[in-house]
């Protein structure tokens, strides 16, 4: 599966695709929600590494509007619970991710994204 925690890290790596190659756009997806154990310290430690706008935009595309547009300076439990759900409980099982720049399509099959490129696409 691709959860949004992973999606927020991934960028296109096709040949000569270096700008505007993040975030990848989900298409034709099937979602599953699976509960995960909540850990507020993990979330606080991970937050500085997040690209916030990409996370919020993608969550909204998937129908989750619980996160604020701006990353809050003060975090309370309610916010962390929403963040936990968005990052760790929404699983994209099938579908694909498309690069916003070069339009390369990375398929998601059986819950596993295929980031392999063909020989001629490798930079």
């Amino acid at each position: 599966m691709v959860r949004l925690i992973t999606h927020n890290l991934l960028a296109c790596h096709a040949k000569d695709c270096n700008t505007n190659n993040f975030p990848l756009e989900f298409k034709d997806i099937q979602l599953e929600i699976r509960e995960a154990e909540f850990n507020s310290d993990f979330l606080k430690g991970f937050m500085p590494k997040l690209e916030w706008k990409a996370l919020v935009d993608t969550a909204r595309q998937l129908g989750d509007t619980s996160l604020p547009l701006e990353q809050p300076e003060m975090v309370d439990d309610g916010f962390l619970k929403s963040l936990h759900h968005v990052l760790l409980e929404i699983h994209v099982e099938e579908g694909s991710m498309t690069c916003p720049n070069c339009k390369h399509v990375y398929p998601i099959l059986n819950g596993i994204p295929n980031m392999l490129l063909a020989e001629h696409e490798i930079g």
Partner: protein
């Protein structure tokens, strides 16, 4: 226990095609059997993962069956590792690693490529993977990808590769090349057989459709010869130093080295149970010193 003497490998043609045939295709075939023999984490790797603070995220580059993805076992949910491998069959197994019902996060990808934001990970591990790359240049490239994957200010990296020097528990011995004049720091290219002795899978399964019986006795167990580059003493460290140099990373531990603001520290390197390992920590000096 019979001792297998490993034969020399001859890497010919395009190394990427060679690896496809002599590494990737084989792991795809033997995934299930291979995984059933790989369950015990090695101590230095387990202790490295235990030492990571809460909130760290990491990359397991060449995760195989994902045995390191659930670690540290005593602190679930505090550290999060993304598994990367080329074998779809191994990744299917890795998804369920840890047997706790928790799904692990895995990607199908190549250790020589970078499909993430550079520097986004806090740590990266590469266990028993780089020795499957068929040229020195490709092995160095894999090390560079690891160094680029982690944070330039605090990223930590652990690399494990197979050693020519095998311990007494090993079932394998490398071909004797004392007459071949192998230079120091140069490892050896070998093929390591994997004997798939249980019921053959794939094509044979279809052929025996309708028969629940095991295949006839005269069927030979299938042997797959995987390519390995077995590392010589000092070779892994030299590879890391070369990779660091190409990335303009200083290898000294002094943070005020002339003209350098980024570097890496070799925290430890050594030999454990037939493997060489090296642990690295990246650093970035915040402002020039000495003024």
């Amino acid at each position: 226990m019979p001792l297998t003497v490993l034969e020399a490998a001859r890497v010919i043609g395009n190394p990427s095609v060679y690896e496809d045939e002599n590494v990737h295709a084989i792991y795809e075939e033997i995934a299930e059997h291979f995984s059933s023999t790989r369950y015990k984490p090695w101590p230095i790797i387990a202790s490295f993962l235990s030492s990571l603070p809460c909130g760290f995220i990491g990359l397991d580059s060449g995760c195989g069956n994902g045995k390191y993805l659930p670690l540290p076992a005593d602190r679930p949910g505090e550290v999060w590792t993304l598994g990367l491998d080329r074998s779809g069959n191994l990744l299917q197994i890795a998804r369920a690693a840890g047997a706790t019902g928790v799904k692990r996060e895995v990607l199908r990808g190549d250790v020589l490529e970078t499909c993430w934001r550079k520097g986004v990970f806090d740590y990266a591990i590469s266990i028993a993977t780089i020795h499957h790359l068929a040229t020195e240049k490709r092995r160095r490239c894999a090390v560079k990808r690891l160094l680029e994957a982690v944070s330039p200010s605090h990223g930590r990296v652990l690399i494990y590769v197979w050693a020519i020097e095998q311990d007494e528990l090993s079932k394998r011995k490398v071909f004797d090349s004392s007459s071949g004049g192998v230079a120091p720091h140069k490892g050896k290219d070998v093929v390591v057989p994997w004997v798939l002795s249980k019921e053959p899978r794939g094509k044979n399964k279809n052929e025996s459709k309708g028969h629940e019986q095991t295949p006839p006795d005269n069927e030979e167990p299938k042997v797959y010869n995987r390519y390995y580059h077995m590392f010589a003493k000092g070779e892994l460290r030299a590879l890391v130093e070369e990779a660091a140099k190409e990335l303009n990373l200083s290898i000294t531990m002094e943070q005020n080295a002339e003209g350098r603001s980024r570097g890496l520290e070799i925290v430890q390197d050594g030999w454990e149970r037939s493997n060489y390992y090296v642990e690295l920590k990246l650093w970035e000096s915040i402002k020039p010193r000495g003024f």
